[in-house]
């Protein structure tokens, strides 16, 4: 089955585009109809225009924060994969670790943001990167570990019939079966990274950071500018997510999503 044509893609995305247009129209309409104060909920058109006119401040701030998120994402995910790979070699350790890691992810890491700031200079991007990294580490660890353990017994039996060594089994079976799990986790992590960076900035950060900017906008009740900033944050978060999706499509050409389930 070949990848869908441009026409197929369009049909698939049409409803989403329709909803978007409809949503924006409703938003504008509701504001006019109910005379909602701009103070409370700005018009999408105003947000869009502020997004453009404020770009000299907003876009660099977004980039600054994005770098923190990206750095944290890369470091946290890499560590997650490394630990998972190490732990998976010792089966008993892996099975024992998963519930602990899952429970650990129930801890609101965000609450530790101020401590991270205290450790690593609140004005530097490193503290935010650390928060993002911690947020990414756990889901990547749990999912990669699960993935590495997901090879079917028959597949292992087959490799044993070839007298394959552990390393060969690893390379040819365990790693490929783990890849879909890894990418699921990376998608989740990509979203968390950006949020982690911004929340981290809330507790203190450089003025050139997006989170700080949005916060101060909100404090002086300039909600239009704040929304424009949120738009920037959201777009950047989405782009990281889509970046992961693109890499996934390239690496995993056999997954059900790419062949249409």
């Amino acid at each position: 089955m070949s990848v869908g044509t441009a026409g197929d893609k369009l049909v698939e995305w049409l409803p989403a585009i329709a909803v978007f247009v409809l949503g924006i129209a409703l938003w504008e309409g509701a504001i006019s109809a109910f005379h909602i104060q701009q103070f409370l909920l700005p018009r999408p058109t105003q947000i869009a225009s502020t997004f453009w006119t404020g770009r000299h401040q907003l876009w660099p701030a977004g980039w600054y924060t994005f770098k923190e998120a990206l750095g944290g994402f890369l470091v946290g995910s890499a560590l997650g994969v490394l630990v998972a790979t190490f732990v998976a070699r010792f089966e008993a350790l892996g099975t024992a670790l998963i519930p602990v890691a899952v429970a650990a992810s129930a801890i609101p890491i965000i609450a530790f943001a101020p401590i991270f700031n205290a450790w690593l200079n609140p004005l530097s991007p490193t503290s935010k990167m650390a928060i993002a990294a911690v947020l990414c580490f756990l889901p990547v660890l749990v999912n990669t570990l699960r993935g590495l353990q997901s090879a079917s017994p028959r597949q292992i039996e087959l490799m044993r019939s070839y007298a394959a060594s552990e390393r060969e089994i690893w390379r040819r079976v365990r790693v490929p079966t783990a890849l879909p799990y890894l990418f699921t986790a990376l998608k989740v992590a990509s979203v968390l990274a950006m949020i982690g960076a911004i929340v981290g900035e809330y507790f203190g950060g450089a003025f050139t950071a997006l989170g700080v900017l949005i916060r101060s906008d909100a404090q002086i009740l300039d909600f239009t500018h704040a929304w424009a900033g949120i738009l920037v944050a959201s777009l950047l978060g989405l782009s990281l997510y889509f970046g992961v999706v693109i890499v996934e499509r390239m690496v995993i050409r056999w997954a059900p999503e790419s062949r249409g389930s």
């Binding site: 089955m1 079917s152 028959r154 597949q155 039996e157 087959l158 044993r160 019939s161 070839y162 007298a163 394959a164 060969e168 040819r172 079976v173 490929p176 890849l179 995993i252 050409r253 056999w254 062949r259």
Partner: protein, 271 residues
């Protein structure tokens, strides 16, 4: 062609500690080179276990297995056999060609040598042209053919098959039976074939080994004297029906004393 049996099973017993199930008891069997031996019996009779014991994928509790004059473990290390499961166990992330090449890669063959052999195997199972497809693009029957091609890729003298056609429909199954026989005769390999189907066992084999459960024992052996090459007509030969009946009688006799619940619990424990 030597006189040494390819497979010699001496007083093999296998007890699974969980549930204390005696899957195999005192199994004695010799398989000569070039034979096509089927193992048949009700669920829980240990036929799949016996196959895995031959392949050194399960260790017997007692007894000895010799394959090609070596221990089963040595035979496995030396890649003396290929194995086919009921589920094709193909790797989704590789193309058909790459799937067939897996054992060859493990053996360290050069790329050219691998490519050449893969083409030969594809021709053997009549799937030339499908090399670049992915497993999910093939039907069940085609996937099994790839699985067979992979098992034979490095030309092992022994082929172990665990109900390979069990998941396929009857027509595909009969067609693949004919293909398998043709491959067998071309390559001159020895085949140990586990199946649930009496007619399949008789149609394919030189000998049918009937096993009974609890504990897993050999109930009897039925030599099949039908001529090769066997064709669609063979299935309508009166002698074929006689042999099928013989096997059926053996199965019924030894399985008669089992209650349905006992069989069911064996299914759970031993498989």
């Amino acid at each position: 062609m030597s006189d040494q049996p390819v497979v010699r099973i001496e007083k093999v017993t296998k007890v699974f500690p969980r549930g204390n199930v005696t899957a195999l008891q005192d199994i004695e069997l010799d398989i000569a080179p070039g034979e096509f031996v089927s193992l048949i019996g009700p669920s829980g009779c240990g036929k799949s276990t016996l196959l895995r014991v031959i392949g050194d994928l399960i260790e017997p509790t007692e007894g000895a297995v010799t394959v090609n004059g070596k221990t089963a473990r040595a035979a496995r290390s030396d890649h003396d056999y290929g194995i086919v499961f009921q589920d094709a166990v193909l790797f989704d992330w590789r193309t058909v060609s790459k799937n067939i090449a897996v054992p060859l890669e493990l053996l360290g063959w050069s790329r050219d040598r691998r490519a050449k052999r893969v083409d030969e195997m594809l021709e053997l199972v009549e799937l030339s042209g499908f090399g670049d497809h992915h497993p999910w693009q093939l039907s069940g029957g085609m996937q099994q053919r790839v699985s067979i091609a992979r098992a034979l890729a490095f030309e092992p003298a022994l082929l172990l098959m665990d109900e390979p056609f069990g998941a396929l429909d009857e027509m595909t199954r009969e067609r693949l039976n004919l293909e398998l026989l043709s491959i067998w005769q071309q390559l001159g390999s020895t085949v140990v074939f586990v199946t649930h189907s009496i007619s399949e066992a008789v149609f394919l084999s030189t000998r049918v080994v009937v096993m009974s459960p609890r504990p897993g024992r050999i109930a009897g052996v039925v030599p099949v004297d039908l001529a090769y090459p066997r064709t669609v007509e063979t299935r309508e030969d009166p002698r074929f029906f006689e042999l099928v009946t013989q096997v059926r009688e053996l199965l019924r006799k030894r399985g008669e004393h089992l209650l349905p619940e006992e069989e069911a619990s064996l299914l759970e424990a031993a498989e």
